[in-house]
């Protein structure tokens, strides 16, 4: 991590502001500078840039670009050596890479990423890369992850809960503060949940969002949203009332966009975190909103849509979450309200119906209390109630019938639950959609949190 305020930061990396010439920096800092540079060179989710940085590392990727793909004048060579082993037609691959280099070359001219880092420093921000302990590891599930994150506010709020658990922070006094240390203690402490929805929201939607967000934040959940008008703003406001929130920006974190949300975004920076994958100075262009949505979904353990029209950016966030295997919830509303049409569409697609904070919490903590590796698996009563909250009848019976740590076939599940196989399968489908069970071949088991 590169941060201008090392005094308040127990990060392992030294404070540094470097230059994209990889020869002048070493180790993590060189990689951080190179990643920052890539975040400026390539648009978010650029397939070639993501593959290149992901496979070679940012420094070597930059080296390839400067020394292989471009000539001495910085112009793209027509047939560069492909940096990755080409699949199929090597000539075709070479020309694809030439095209990609052609996209990046114009931004390389005169680029010194230290300027953007200085802007970040003046704003009190910090830069996160995947090797940092606060990197939201959920982003690693993306096919095209961001190269780095530009952060204002407290970067520790970005750390996924699972990182903290595997890091053993409870015994290591030198370990950095993690997300759980910054949020109210509660059943959701340290989990991230996206609460998103329409800009053209109704009073009903904003009211429900505010209540959901404050209820979740009070239980320790970090509420993640997009800083837009309407539902997003209500989510941030509700979360700030009771706990922590993270806003993912489509443009640089120096731009508080939209201007009408300046007050809430300033409060997010003061008491939460504002984050972007593009450097300061970048405009929140339309295409960046769509790619931004994948970050919201990936940083969150579940996504809940409160209000959405038939076509809505919030639905794209929900679909990213589904693609990532994350739980998706939708808040119902009057069928006469156009602002709820998208939510009802999601419900018809299998999203979980969410009507209050407890039901939303279930999406992220279905097995939290029973995780055999977790220190919090304390109270068996809580475990059972947590497991079965909000489930009913056959679904609860099926979940109950699943052995705690082994696989089971449909036939034995149905027998144990006292249901027909058909009913058991239907219930398993519901439980799978809710992220509570996993299928392995023809067997089923209770879902485990990713480590």
């Amino acid at each position: 991590m590169i941060t201008p305020s090392s005094a308040s930061s127990p990060s392992p990396g030294p404070t540094a502001v470097g230059i994209p010439d990889t020869a002048s920096a070493v180790g993590d800092d060189a990689e951080a500078l190179a990643r920052a540079t890539w975040s400026r060179l390539a648009e978010p989710a650029d397939a070639h840039a993501c593959a290149l940085v992901g496979r070679l590392g940012a420094t070597a990727a930059l080296d390839w670009l400067v020394h292989e793909a471009l000539d001495a004048d910085g112009a793209p060579r027509p047939a560069p050596r492909p940096p990755l082993r080409p699949r199929g037609d090597a000539a075709r691959a070479s020309s694809d890479w030439a095209t990609a280099a052609g996209r990046w070359a114009p931004r390389l001219q005169g680029l010194d990423i230290r300027r953007e880092l200085e802007v970040l420093e003046r704003l009190g921000g910090s830069l996160l890369i995947p090797t940092d302990p606060w990197w939201p590891t959920g982003l690693n599930d993306l096919e095209r992850p961001p190269h780095c994150l530009w952060v204002r506010g407290d970067p520790a709020l970005l750390a996924a809960r699972s990182s903290a658990e595997s890091g053993g922070s409870e015994t290591d006094l030198a370990a950095p503060r993690m997300r759980e240390d910054l949020v109210p203690a509660g059943p959701g402490a340290g989990y991230g949940l996206a609460l998103v929805g329409a800009r053209a929201s109704t009073d009903y939607g904003e009211h429900v969002t505010f209540d959901l967000a404050s209820g979740l934040a009070a239980k320790g959940v970090v509420v993640i949203s997009g800083g837009a008008f309407g539902i997003d703003a209500a989510a941030h406001r509700g979360a700030l009332r009771a706990g922590a929130t993270v806003s993912v920006s489509a443009g640089g974190v120096d731009r508080l966009y939209p201007a009408g949300n300046t007050d809430v975004l300033e409060e997010v920076i003061a008491n939460g975190a504002l984050v972007a994958e593009v450097p300061p100075g970048c405009q929140p262009g339309r295409h960046r909103f769509l790619t931004r949505n994948r970050l919201i979904a990936a940083m969150s353990e579940a996504t809940v849509v409160v209000e959405a029209a038939w076509r809505s950016g919030a639905l794209s966030t929900a679909h990213h979450a589904l693609e990532l295997g994350r739980a998706v919830g939708a808040v119902p509303g009057p069928v006469t309200s156009m602002a709820s049409v998208g939510c009802h569409r999601l419900l018809r697609q299998g999203a979980v119906c969410v009507t209050d904070a407890d039901e939303a919490l279930e999406l992220v903590t279905p097995l939290g209390a029973t995780d055999p590796d977790g220190a919090k698996a304390a109270d068996p009563a809580n475990a059972v109630s947590g497991l079965l909250d909000g489930l009913d009848g056959p679904t609860a019976a099926v979940l109950d019938a699943l052995p705690a740590r082994a696989d089971a076939g449909v036939e034995s599940i149905a027998r144990a639950a006292g249901l027909s196989e058909r009913e058991a399968i239907a219930a398993l489908g519901v439980l799978e959609l809710a992220g509570r069970v996993e299928r392995r071949g023809t067997a089923w088991r209770r879902a485990r949190k990713r480590s």
Copy 2:
């Protein structure tokens, strides 16, 4: 069928009003009289009465009661010969049957079912038994079916659509009018759909119900409900606006209950049908409402709940429908409305989110247009749009990927749909809940309507 108005009735059975002495009547009429008698002797869903009548026939069941279970004075014998082969302890079975006979004996004293039939005749009604062509065959799926139905209004509206199809009514000029002949032509013609909900409904719920019911009735669906205040009444009113409706009463059809709904119930009798499993004179007691709900669910090919509190009789109807393998839908509402809590509960249990008449219609006609045996499988364009209406993304892709008339494994479905197996299974779960696909062992196929 026993009907007082043979002039308007092309029923095969002669008009008759008989007596419970089985020796004095022959064939169907004797059985009809005996069934009518049983509907007076035993409470709805009496397990012993249903088993007895179902296995022996009503006439023989009555014969056993009069000659074996009771002595010459009409008092129960302490150890009657069990009428059905006892499982396990024969002595225990005998004493159970003595208890049952003890329940029925008091009502047999002085009973002449002809009196109730005369009341029915004065009201212009008719009696249906399972062998009648208008018998709603969906009732046969019940573990404890009614012995008969006491009907005011047009009994042809009770005939399930599938009966008409198997009866070949199009060529047989002497065949009775069936349900399809009485409703508007349309994609739902002749299907029965239960539209039920809270008595303590909101303006929102009543408004949505009225629109759903009139939309469904206009497409030929027979809207079935319970005649109660609130959602039920709105369902009947909406259906009467555009087509046909059936009201299932918890008490005798001579009582228009609740009195405040007299106007709409009279309109139901005039333009639809009012039906009960108990004879005229029976009070609509509390327990009869719960047993009545199983009739609504069984007579309908799907049940949609519009508004329901956390505990609501409408939920019992929905659970009966689920038990019967019928599709269940729920209409969402504001999460701030207590009247929608039960609907949201159903949605969390896997009910299909229904927001308009087309989505409700899908529950009963998922494959109507593509039924290979049906004469209405006319327009392939309609077929495809009917199949995929309201589905989206992976769910539509999976339904599309299923071969038309063969089984397919998850792997091949996933491959054809371009999805991961996990996504395909989740979509299959949703489709199964919606009654659109069926699982056979490890293979899946498109659901076929029951014949």
